[in-house]
């Protein structure tokens, strides 16, 4: 892979070695004077780190030794990834907080509430679930953001063909949930994990706009009929005439 030669390193699995090599080369570059050199080094570094982190998968592919990585994939994020990251972490230690049981507990409550066809129309009932202190924890919140999104989106009755089906969660509730999970600010990352129609369905509930309306944006407003303008001018002119008459008196 090209990245190793840019870093002046023989291929390695050790992240620390890569970091050291990157740091050494970085100090020789003036990123303001030579941004291209900086970008080349940066991409090589990100590629090398990606290689180390995903080595297991890459080796399964066997033939793929010259795996070109867009640095975008370094930044992009998927739901599965965070789950994996959190699970793989030092979860074995006793003092580390595991967010999953709490999140599952909340999901259980949500499912129970949804079964109750009467209570699920009351936003207060939803509020009662999400005012839980455990939601203060950032990890629990970020897990539930996606779980709840999926749960809600699938029950809004949207299909890929835009057919309407009865909605079983009302708009007020969706808007409340958006306050808790700020989905409207995460549209790009949600679009990466879920199909377009699911994201659109939820956003439609939140701001009343699916994006489909954009189609018509080039159509200009219809002009007023001529007779309306004529009548308008006649009224204005007669008023002016009366005014003049009053002044000249």
């Amino acid at each position: 892979m090209k990245c190793w030669s840019i870093l002046e390193l023989s291929q390695t699995d050790d992240k620390k070695t890569i970091k050291r090599a990157y740091a050494k080369k970085l100090k020789l570059i003036d990123s303001q004077a030579d941004p291209e050199a900086f970008q080349r080094l940066r991409e090589a570094y990100e590629q090398a780190v990606y290689y180390v982190e995903n080595q297991a998968e890459l080796q399964l592919d066997g033939t793929q030794t010259d795996y070109e990585v867009e640095s975008k994939s370094e930044i992009s994020f998927s739901h599965a990834e965070i789950e994996q990251n959190i699970k793989e972490g030092p979860g074995q230690q006793d003092d580390v907080f595991d967010p999953y049981p709490s999140a599952q507990d909340i999901m259980g409550k949500v499912a129970d509430l949804y079964e109750d066809t009467e209570a699920r129309n009351k936003p207060e009932a939803w509020r009662a679930i999400f005012e839980d202190q455990v939601l203060l924890d950032i990890e629990v919140l970020s897990i539930l953001r996606y779980w709840i999104f999926e749960f809600v989106a699938e029950r809004l009755g949207a299909t890929d063909w835009g057919e309407a089906a009865p909605k079983t969660i009302n708009r007020e509730t969706v808007r409340y949930l958006n306050q808790v999970f700020t989905w409207d600010q995460e549209q790009l990352s949600l679009s990466e994990c879920y199909p377009h129609h699911l994201v659109s369905a939820v956003m439609y509930e939140i701001d009343g706009n699916k994006g489909m309306l954009e189609l018509n944006r080039n159509v200009e407003k219809e002009k007023r009929p001529i007779w309306m303008m004529v009548v308008g001018w006649v009224v204005v002119l007669s008023c002016l005439a009366k005014l003049f008459a009053a002044i000249s008196k």
């Binding site: 970091k19 050494k24 970085l26 990123s31 940066r42 990890e139 306050q179 995460e186 790009l188």
Partner: protein, 567 residues
Amino acid sequence: MALIGIDLGTTNSLVGVWHKDAVKLIPNAHGEILTPSVISIDEHNNVIIGKAAKDRLIKHPDNTVSAFKRRMGTQASCTLGKQKFRPEELSALVLKQLKYDAESFLGETISEAVISVPAYFNDMQRNATKRSAELIGLKVERLINEPTAAAIAYGLHDRADDCHYLILDLGGGTFDVSVLEFFEGVMEVHASAGDNFLGGEDFTTLLCKACFEACGINEKKLSSRDNELIRKTIEQAKKDLGSKSEVNIAANLSKSKLEWKLTKGDFESIVEPLLQKLKHPIERALRDAKLKPSDLDEVILVGGATRMPVIRSLVSKIIRRIPVSTINPDEVVCHGAVIQSALLEKHEALKDVVLTDVSPYTMGIEIASSRNNGNYEAGHFMPIIERNSVVPISRVDRVNTVQNGQMELSVEVFQGESRLVKNNIFLGRLNVKVPKNKAGEECVDIRFTYDANGILEVITKVVSTGDEQNLLIENSAVHMSKEQIRESFKKLSSIKLHPREEAQNLALFSRAERLYEEALGESRNYIAHIIGQFENALDTQDHDVANQARKDLDKVLDEIEGEGVLS
């Protein structure tokens, strides 16, 4: 020639310089490090900046302006006296004062500076800040992100290797979150997030609203003097609640007397909506950096507003970790800006430190995306540079025509995180002429280049003809023409700053007048008396007498304020 570091804040501004291998923050004429970012105009049309101006907020609210950093990058100008000022010009005046203070301290002229901006400042706000400096003949060597600056200041203090920091910067008007890693002398920002309209000032505003409601005051009928007085009293109460469990708020309004009791519990429930808003950027920064709270080695609080205990307890709850703030939260950003200036000058003591930062926003263009029925739907956002990419960075993406015989392609540049451009910030437009051809046959390469200052350049290239066009983002709504810049430059150069000694007298007068406004009966007469005495001393034109009188008056005013005669 020295390169200075400036923290241009919403509430306070600071200036410093790298001196004898260490950071030296430069005191103003009053011997203080913090210069309030407040500007006032007196009856002779003279401009007053800093402490004296802040004290004039109550007596001359219509001729005094504060917190103008929040309006940077917009067209909201304000009228002071007979003149109109753009937000850039107000910031320029503060910079002028800081530059003057630094010049008198160093005894040399200064023409270059590193200025800190909130990490979440957008392209327009960054350009406006840069322009402010240029308006007073100060060249900006680098715009540094505030949390990054804070991180360098901490990183240099305890250089533990392989450390992850979370920096939370809650200033007067903005909230920034940054995740950083320090390894092998490299300070690397992994992710930044934030909110441009969330700061200490919002907490005060919310408390004022609650106070008006509780006391049955109609905000619209309130004179601007009373309004400023209440605001100042509440501001003080907010600070006092840091150490007390309840405070009594009292102020003498022009027609009535205000009394209100505020407990810690009330305070927490009033500001709850703001606390909610703090959570999301923190979560997003951690997620973008692919870290979980337990991976962090340290959580650092920066900015004056983080002194509120409610912020500390919120942070400990949501990330299960006690935050630290070992460097003065008001000064740490300026420390970092100075270190950055020294890095740019390649000082020997710092030759092993490198800093890399990221772009906090996603930047891209509007495209029409095809739907399954074969139609195209406009208004979609196509990211080109994704948020939290390491800068400087340059990326190309290719778009093609969607209609047969299409002659022109409109490239509209946006910044933001929504998949529909209408929810993102519009930065600029470029019309690209393409040869007539079938739909999809003509392509245009669009290159985005984002420099280390966080300023964007867009270059388009028609693939078939090789025609290139260049768009330096200049938003028409906030753009200043060359003519405007020249005029503004002239206007600002004609404004003379008060000599340091005079500035001290002015600040004392303003303060005494403010205390007079706040006091009642006996102590009012007393203050009037000592102001008269001070004027007499100044009239003697004797340097020593004036100096002594100044010291005396300062002491007396301290006593008056300390005794709390006012409450």
